[in-house]
Amino acid sequence: MDLAQMTAVELSAAIREKKVTVREAVEASLDAIAKREESLNCYVTVDREGALQRADEVQKKIDDGTLTGPLAGVPVAVKDNMCTKGMLTTCSSKILGNFVPTFTADAVIRLEEAGAVILGKTNMDEFAMGSTTETSAYGVTRNPWNEGHVPGGSSGGSAAAVAAGECFFALGSDTGGSIRQPASFCGVVGMKPTYGTVSRYGLIAYGSSLDQIGPLCKDVTDCAAILEIIAGHDPKDSTSMKRDDTDFTSALQEDVAGMKIGIPRDYFGEGLDPEVKASVLAAAELLKAKGAVVEEFDLSLVDYAIPAYYTIAAAEASSNLERFDGIKYGYRAEDCEELHKMYKKTRSQGFGAEVKRRIMLGSFVLSSGYYDAYYLKALRVKALIKKAFDDAFSRYDVILGPAAPTTAPELGKSLQDPIQMYLGDIYTISVNLAGLPGITVPCGVDSKGLPIGVQLIGDCFREKKLLRMAYTYEKARGPFGLDKEGR
């Protein structure tokens, strides 16, 4: 039996049927890690012993019938910005290089309770700021499809680990596309749920009003199963929603007859790579063939999304990251004479360039005299963007477009021009600004052999529509994956 070919749901079924043990599953992931990690660098921390020990505990609970769910015994990787009690949690930053949390993030607790086995913590852009996983203080992660390219970001470690078989699924977080874009670059499924669906308790905040945890996985079935487990109201997170429609696996139906798909013309204009464009439009055609109604429309305000996003996210980040000051935990600079010098030196040494850039940007837009002109204006744009989507969703069930303008860039290219890198987020950030759910499903490869993803966007709380359409598309498309592509 080739474990590497299995999805999370298939694996847990095989474990329940006693065809595979949890230990064998964990060992399969650890073997893949041993084989590829040196070059890929998907993980900041691999907890080999902990995972094996946990495998045996979970096996017992599966054997005695305590654990019966679809993730029981499945090895998972967790993005390194989610707190894990007793396990290093760095946000891929030097400033948290020695930080071991005293509690575990709510989403991770839900996974543990479902019997998933945590392998370790995945690499990311420092504090989730970046689109390439190159801003990590612990080295770049490479794209398993082509190691000369980035995996995308900021959840690049999670996406690459899933694509390379270094885990069966992973958790990522998405503030401006950080799940959907790396999913697209690494040829895996990635989903950002509606804001408030998954608790943010224990997620180290970047942009609090935009951050959402979501799955990165091998297919849409896994995606629904994972989301069903991690979603749920959490009284510890004031922005967490009470929903009674989180039975997401019930939406896995091969049926899009009569569903309306809107294709925003603005998403297919200048700057979009022709190969990506062709591949994404082919996905729309396939759905049309399955009975969906496809229509082009104008989604307004697309040009304003990037400045609004970088204003709001940076403003929140500048405040969220203030707590990293060398006083209570994490890195502290040596040889400091006085309090404010210690703050400055610690933060200058502890944060990388991109984080500093966003802290400065955020501090500027919140400073007195600029607040109205930048921050408040950005909030107004955010409200207008939400309105534009409301309008679109009065006519369409799902909006379809690319997840990124190009396939994965070469290593080292993106950070030379940060503005260009920010512009690469054009198709994903509006979804965060409007709090909508979005899913990326692989839809092809370009001439360089790099994967392309199609992004489906739904109205708030309409994950089921997205999952149904994504599932239907996936079935119509046929098998996809690094191994399936014969590499």
Binding site: P101, A205, S209, K236, S238, E322, D325, I327, S363, L366
Partner: protein
């Protein structure tokens, strides 16, 4: 001709709310735990932790706002005030700037010069910071986050006060109002009520306000009054010397009676306030607002009015008793047990006040129960104990709320009604004090007081002074004859 100046004062008052748990987490607000024992990831600013509003804080803030005739903001938000300091674990304080919970209110104050309204600009909710402890021996600074996240309201007045008397009257008014609501014990010394004084001076008749300063570190009403006087004089001296008042924050040193610059407006920080994205906006519903309104207690003025109607006690007593919520509660509850109001009032006005002063006890900390006070009074009424013994017993009750009945029993303090024992004691006192006896017989009637005292002492206070007096007179008159 010397110019005349008017003082213009506005107050920022911080009040610690009496919730059991903190404003954004479930940690205890109890005072005085071991350092960092009343803490959790939220109030120590651990990465990944999130705040959740304690609804009781909102309820208290609304209740205070209603009592201060404020408009209640039905859709209010929390904002982050960003500044770096180790007592503030997140390096931002969650407070309210843009949409505070209460606005545009007033309270009425009465001073010797009459009654006036002091405007309330706003009341907002916020979290307290931790405490820094400088260990000079080890040359290091330690942080205790037990106070971090304790709920506060800040009550910002309009610049409507003109002298220290009005300021004290305003603070007393707020303190009583809030104590009556049960929203805080409002102790200045312990810091559960803190006032910062904004003060400026201007020539009488001037239309514009002068440049103001803000005075901090005022720990008592006395310090506030002294600081106001000191700052008024300092500013007038500057103006008279042709210099300008600098807008700044100053720190009052009550020991030395002077203030020092803490920071000037130039180095004022930019707090970069913005709405806290971790907290959802708070909506105060009609229904809830009405519930809070309906639950407003009887405030001091109404209570005084009712006491005048219902109880036959002097106005002075009413004023003192209603001057502290705990006092008024004790009074009413003891009277409700069937004790005569005047007698209750006498115990509160007399022994209670005396011991409070002696032991520097705040009325809020009075520990004896109304049941025990009622019992004590009935013991005296029944002549089971003498007044002297009653005072003795009360002193113990005041310290640790003992049951006076069983205490009297245990310690054998009951009045001796044995005629024979009393008679023999009086006879002995007469025999042992010939000088006083002859003084009395010689016409100095006051000398009997000494003999009564000696008898009481010999009886260890357990005799009824009236009976002693009568018996002495009887036996002395026999000597005369």
């Amino acid at each position: 001709m010397a110019r005349e100046y008017e003082t213009v004062i506005g107050l920022e008052v911080h009040v610690e709310l009496a919730t059991r748990t903190k404003i954004f987490c479930g940690c205890s607000t109890a005072f005085g735990g071991e350092p960092n024992t009343h803490t959790c990831p939220v109030c120590t600013g651990m990465p990944g932790s999130l705040p959740v509003l304690n609804k009781k804080v909102l309820e208290y803030a609304v209740a205070v706002g209603l009592a201060a005739n404020c408009k209640i903001t039905r859709y209010c938000k929390f904002d982050r005030k960003n500044y770096f300091y180790p007592d503030n674990p997140q390096n931002y304080q969650i407070s309210q700037l843009y949409l505070p919970i209460c606005r545009d209110g007033y309270v009425e104050i009465t001073t010797e010069s009459g009654t006036k309204k002091v405007g309330i600009h706003e009341i907002h909710m916020e979290e307290d910071a931790g405490k820094l402890i400088h260990d000079e021996w080890e040359d290091c600074t330690l942080v205790d986050y037990n106070r971090s996240g304790v709920p506060l309201i800040e009550i910002v007045s309009e610049p409507d006060m003109r002298n220290a008397d009005e300021v004290i009257a305003y603070l007393e008014k707020l303190r009583l109002m809030i104590q009556y609501l049960g929203a805080s014990d409002c102790k200045l010394q312990e810091g559960s009520m803190r006032a910062d004084v904004n003060l400026s001076v201007r020539e009488v008749g001037a239309k514009e306000f002068g440049t103001r300063t803000e005075m901090k570190n005022l720990n008592s009403f006395r310090a506030i009054a002294r600081a106001i006087e000191g700052e008024r004089e300092r500013q007038i001296d500057l103006l008279e010397a042709g210099e300008a008042v600098v807008q700044e924050t100053r720190r009052w040193d009550d020991g030395k009676g002077v203030s020092y610059t803490m920071r000037s407006k130039e180095d004022a920080q930019d707090y970069r306030y913005f709405p806290d994205p971790d907290l959802t906006p708070v909506h105060v519903s009609d229904e809830w607002l009405e519930q809070i309104r309906a639950a407003q207690p009887e405030f001091r003025e109404e209570k005084m009015e009712r006491y005048r109607r219902e109880f036959d006690i002097p106005d002075y007593d009413i004023e003192i008793i209603t001057g502290a919520k705990r006092m008024a509660d004790l009074f009413e509850e003891t009277v409700a047990l069937g004790t005569e109001p005047k007698k209750v009032s006498n115990w509160l006005m007399g022994e209670t006040m005396r011991l409070m002063k002696e032991t520097e006890t705040d009325a809020a900390d009075l520990c004896f129960s109304p049941e025990h006070l009622a019992k004590l009074i009935s013991l005296v009424d029944a002549k089971a104990i003498t007044n002297t013994v009653a005072k003795e017993v009360f002193e113990v009750m005041f310290a640790k709320d003992i049951d006076p009945e069983s205490y009297v029993e245990e310690k054998g303090l009951k009045t001796v009604n044995d005629e024979g024992e009393l008679r023999s004691t009086v006879e002995r006192v007469i025999a042992e004090n010939p000088q006083s006896v002859s003084d009395y017989l010689g016409g100095k009637e006051k000398a009997i007081g000494f003999l009564v005292g000696q008898t009481m002492k010999a009886m260890k206070g357990k005799a009824d002074p009236g009976s002693v007096n009568a018996l002495l007179k009887e036996l002395l008159s026999k000597l005369q004859a």
